[in-house]
Amino acid sequence: MSEPTPTPPTTTPPEDARRLTPKAIAGWSLVAVIGAVGWVVLALARGEEVSAVWMLAAALGSYAIAYRFYAKWIQYKVLKADRTRATPAERLNNGVDFHPTDRRVLFGHHFAAVAGAGPLVGPILAAQMGYLPGTIWIVAGVIFAGAVQDMVVLFFSTRRDGRSLGQIARDEIGPLGGAAALVAVFMIMIILLAVLALVIVNALADSPWGVFSIGMTIPIALFMGFYLRTLRPGRVTEVSLIGVALLLLAIVAGGWVAESSLADTFTLEAGTLVIWMVIYGFVASVLPVWMLLAPRDYLSTFMKVGTIVLLAVGVVIALPTLQMEGVTKFAFEETGPVFAGSLFPFVFITIACGALSGFHALVSSGTTPKMIQKETQVRMIGYGAMLTESFVAIMALICACIIDPGLYFAMNAPAGVIGTTVESASQAVAGLGFSISPNDLAQAAKDVEEASLLSRTGGAPTFALGMSEIFSSVIGGAGLKAFWYHFAIMFEALFILTTVDAGTRVGRFMLQDMLGNVYKPMKDVSWKPGVWIASAVVVGGWGYFLWVGVHDPLGGINQLFPLFGIANQLLAAVALAVCTTLLVKSGRLKYAWITAVPLAWDAAVTLTASWQKVFSGDPAVGFFSQRAKYQDGIEAGEVLPPAKSMDDMHTVVTNSTVDGVLSILFAVLIIIVLADAARVCYKVIRDPQSAKLAEVKYVESKLVAPDGMFPTQREKAELAAVGAASEPADGDGGRS
C-alpha cells in the first residue's frame, strides 16, 4: 500500500463538457419536454388506459438528462476523475486479468454481470400497488442512488487496484465495519439464492413442459463444456450457437413431452423440485467449473442479452396498453396479497435491483475496475450500465401491467388467499376489488398450455405471460403464445440456475475463508473434504429457506421477499457508507451528499422496514406478532386460516421466529456499519490531517481513449494525433 496521496491537481474538464451550443440546448430541452410529458400523462391518467409509450418516454427522457448532466457533473466536479492518471489496467497490464479494455466492450461485460433476474422480479411484485409507485422509484432511485453507487464504487475501487468492497471497508472504515460487511454479504447470499430458487420452483411446479426444457439444459451444458474443454478450446461462438439451437429445440420438445405419455414423469410438485434443486446446487458447485458452470454461463449470457434486446424491440413495436391502475388501493392499505405492508417502505424494499442494488457494488469492485482504460469512463460504464438495468426493470413492470389485473392477482396471491380452483380464485379476486371470470382464468392457462396459473408467485410466470403477450402480438399471433411463455420461463430459469451454482461457490469461498481462521486446512480450496463440507453448509442454508418458502402456509414469496429486499438494501447501505466515508476522507466533504443523501434514504427505508417486520402489531406485517397469533392459536387448540392443520400452525410459528430473528440481525449489522462509518467521518471532519487514504499513487497515463460512448471532436483529434484514427485500433485505444 502506498502513502496517502493528495488529491491531484484538478483536471480541466473537457471544453465540450462546459459549453452547450444553442443546438445542444434545443436538443436537450426537447428531451426534457418528452420526459416531462411522459410523467404528466402517467400521473394524471385516471380511469382510462394508458399506452406503455408514456412510461418509456418518462424513463428514457429522465435517464438521458441524468446521464448528460448529473452523472457528468459527479464525474468531473465531485470525483475529479483524471484522464491523465493511469488505471490499474494500464499499470498492471498482464494481458489477462488486468488489461485496458475497449470501453464499449467493457460496458457490455459490466452490464452482463450486473443485470440478472432481480430487475425482472421486484417490479412485478410491486405492480400490486399500481404502475406509478414502481415507475417513480425505479427511475428516481436509479438516477440519485443506484447508478451513483455503482459509479462511485467503481471509481474508488479503480483508485485502489480493483480492491473489493469488503477490503475497502476494512481498509478505510475499520475491522469492525469490515467484518460486519463481510457477514452481511454472506447472509445476503444465502437469502438471495433461496429466493431465486423459490422463483424457479414456483414457475416449474406441475409444469411438465418447463421441467423438461430446464432439465435438458444440463446435458446441453455438459456437452458444451466437453466441447470447450477437449474438442475446440476457447471457441465460444460456435459452441454457443450450437447450445442456443439445442436450447430452442428443448423448448419446442417440452411442448411435445407435455402432450405425450411422458408428461406425468415430468410433472413434479414443488416439494420434489426443492429436493432436486438442492441436489443440483450441491453437485453443480463441487463439479469442476468447466463442466457445468462455464458453459452455462455462456448460454445464459447469450439468452439474457438476446432476450432483453428482443423485449425492448417488442415493447417499442407492440406499444401495449397498461391495464393496471396507476395507483391501486394496496398502496394505502397494508393488506396487499402479493406482499403485506404500506407503500413506504415496502415498495422501496421490493424493488431493489433496477433502482438501487447493493450487489452491484461487488461487481463494480471486482472485475471491471481491473479492466477500465480511463477513470473518466466510470460514468459510461458504472452509471450507464445501471441505467440500462433500470430500463430492464421498467420493461418488467410493463409486462406485469399489460396483463389483466384480475389475472395478475390470481397469479401472484398465495394459495392461502385465493384457494386452488378457478372459481375460488375468481371470487377471491373479486374480494380484492378486481374481476376475472373462472372461464377467463382457465383460458389464460390453456393459452400457454399450463394446467393452472393460480398462485404462480415469484414474478417469473407473470413476466413470462406479459412477454408472451408482447411477442405473440409481433410474431406468430396467439398460436405462438405457449412457446414464448416457456421461452421466457426458460430464459429466467437458465440464469437463475447459473446464479445458484456461482453463488453457492462464492458463499462457500467466503465460508472457507472465515472457517480457515479457526481451522487452517479449511482455507485450502483444493482440499476436497473442506470444499464438500462448506458447499453442503451453503446449500443447506439456502435449501432450508427454499423448503420453508415452498411449504409456508402463508406463502413463501410474501414472507421471504421482504427479507431479500432488506438484505440487498443493507448491502447498498454498506456500499454507500463506504463511498460517503471515502468522499469525506479524500477532501470532498462539500459534495459528500451525493452518496450521503441516498444513504440516509436507504437507511430510513431499511430500518423502517426492519422495525415493522420486528415490532409491527399487524400479524400480516410483523413477524413476531404473527408468531404470537399462531402460538396463541396452538395453545387454544384452534387452527387459524390459512393454516389447515396443527402442523401448519407449528410451521408458521417456526418460520416467523426464524424470519424475525433474521430481520433483527440485518438491522443490527446495518447499524454497526453506519455507526463505524460515522465514527470515521466524524474523526476526519474534526481533524482533516488525520485522514489516511489507501489510494494508489498517481502514475501518468500513456493511453489515449475517449470518455464516453462516442468520441468528441477533441477526443477524435487526440486519437488521430497518436495514430489511432479508426477505433477500435486494437482495443487498447492509442498510445501517446
Binding site: 497490464n93 498482464n94 494481458g95 489477462v96 486479468d97 488489461h99 479494455t101 475497449d102 464499449r104 466492450v105 457490455g108 461485460h109 452482463a112 454481470a113 450486473v114 443485470a115 440478472g116 433476474a117 432481480g118 473489493s164 438471495l192 431465486l196 470447450l228 474443454r229 478450446p233 476457447g234 471457441r235 465460444v236 461462438t237 454457443s240 469442476p288 467449473v289 468447466w290 458452470l293 462455464a294 454461463d297 455462456y298 435491483c353 442494488s357 450487489f359 452491484h360 461487488l362 461487481v363 471486482g366 472485475t367 440464469f495 447459473t498 446464479t499 456461482a502 453463488g503 461457490r505 462464492v506 462457500r508 469461498f509 480450496v525 483444493s526 440487498n568 479508426s726 477500435p728 482495443g731
Partner: protein, 74 residues
C-alpha cells in the same frame, strides 16, 4: 454507379464487418487468448507461451480457485 462508389461501399461493408467481428470476439472472450499471446510476446519475444488448450484450462482453474472472479449479480 461509378466503380469508385462501388469500391467505397465495399470498403464500408468490410469496415463494418471487421468492427462487428472485433466486438463480437471481445464480448464473447474469444479474443482473450490472442491478446494473451500478443502481450506475452511483446514483453519478451522468447517467453514461453501456453497453447490455447493450456490457456483456456488455466482460466477455468483460476475461476475454480477464486469463484468471486467473474461472479454475476442477481
Amino acid at each position: 454507379m461509378t466503380a469508385g462508389a462501388g469500391t467505397a461501399a465495399a470498403g464500408r461493408v468490410r469496415h463494418f464487418a471487421s468492427r462487428f467481428r472485433y466486438y463480437w470476439r471481445e464480448l464473447t472472450g474469444e479474443a482473450t487468448y490472442d491478446r494473451y499471446v500478443a502481450h506475452t510476446r511483446s514483453c519478451s519475444p522468447d517467453a514461453e507461451v501456453m497453447t490455447r488448450r493450456e490457456f483456456e484450462r488455466s482460466r477455468t482453474d483460476a475461476q475454480e480457485a477464486d469463484p468471486r472472479e467473474g461472479f454475476r449479480c442477481c
